[in-house]
Amino acid sequence: TVGAVALDQFGNLAAATSTGGMTNKRYGRVGDSPIIGAGTYADNQTCAVSATGHGEYFIRAVVAYDVAALMAYKGLSVKEAADEVVMKKLVKMGGEGGIIALDKNGNIAMPFNSEGMYRGYIKADGTSEVLIYK
């Protein structure tokens, strides 16, 4: 699964996710990637989120929207909200994976509870970083 979240010069957020799903899947199984609110979500008032992981858990936890909701209703920062969902809620449920999240001020969160996650960011001044492992 691949994903991207961006903030443009007009202050608009966007999120996108694309995947080939799960090897050996049957019965027209669909994961969280195409489910708005589970694998992908964006709202200028809170954040943009793209997820990757065990889709069934991400759907049940409504992961992407949950991060935005924690920011909207509880006033958490994007990092606090992302950590709450990925490192606590998902772990408790047994769901493995991670997300990338970006708020309207350009703050980033990239939490994952698996051993690794291909991830990276680039900021306004062009500074960038690509990471794989914990």
């Binding site: 991207a4 961006a6 443009d8 966007a14 694309s18 995947t19 899947k25 051993e115 291909y118």
Partner: protein
């Protein structure tokens, strides 16, 4: 001051230094950097966040390294079935497609669903018909074939067979299979 920012991921799972060769790590890092640079160029020129995420995702969809587009994993039936979604934070509009097999860049069709239809999610043949009508690039399903992904499926099927024959042996997954885009997860 502009706060343009782009963040990407290329999948999560059992990815460790031990399971990665220097060549493979470099290939992933190079492609992730390329995706970042393409999206950043869009934002730097004043492009929208939607344009940036679409352009970024297309780079990764066109790479066999990631489980999306060209590098998609195989279903039990030996097909590559693709899903994608996109959402605009300004308008809260969204578009998604699922279970398609002939659309070269699913993310662009997801955006078409958002911008050129009254719907949010289209699936299977209907989504492919929509993509065709709207001018998306259609490819033969064989475009998505990669030997490595095909062998992953064969290995998993063999493991399943072994497990059925020897129920006490649960088998073992290597890195390629236990990564989320591998055996278990999507």
């Amino acid at each position: 001051m502009s706060r343009i920012t782009l963040v990407i991921h290329g999948g999560a799972g059992t990815i460790t230094r031990k399971s990665m060769t220097p060549e493979k790590e470099k290939a992933y890092k190079d492609k992730l950097n390329e995706a970042l640079q393409v999206g950043y160029a869009v934002l730097k020129k004043g492009g929208s966040s939607l344009d940036a995420v679409e352009a970024t995702i297309r780079i990764m969809e066109d790479s066999p390294l990631f489980n999306a587009g060209k590098g998609a994993v195989f279903t039990n039936a030996g097909k590559n079935e693709l899903d994608a979604s996109i959402m605009d934070g300004k308008t809260l509009k969204a578009g998604a497609i699922a279970g398609v097999t002939t659309i070269k860049n699913p993310i662009s069709t997801a955006r078409m669903v958002m911008e050129k239809s009254e719907h949010v999610l289209m699936t299977g043949k209907g989504a492919e018909q929509f993509a065709k009508e709207k001018g998306a690039e259609i490819v033969d399903p064989s475009y998505f074939y990669t030997e490595q992904r095909y062998q992953q499926l064969q290995k998993i099927k063999q493991e399943e067979k072994t497990q059925l024959d020897h129920s006490e042996d649960k088998g073992s997954l290597d890195e390629e299979q236990s990564i989320f885009e591998g055996k278990k997860f999507g």
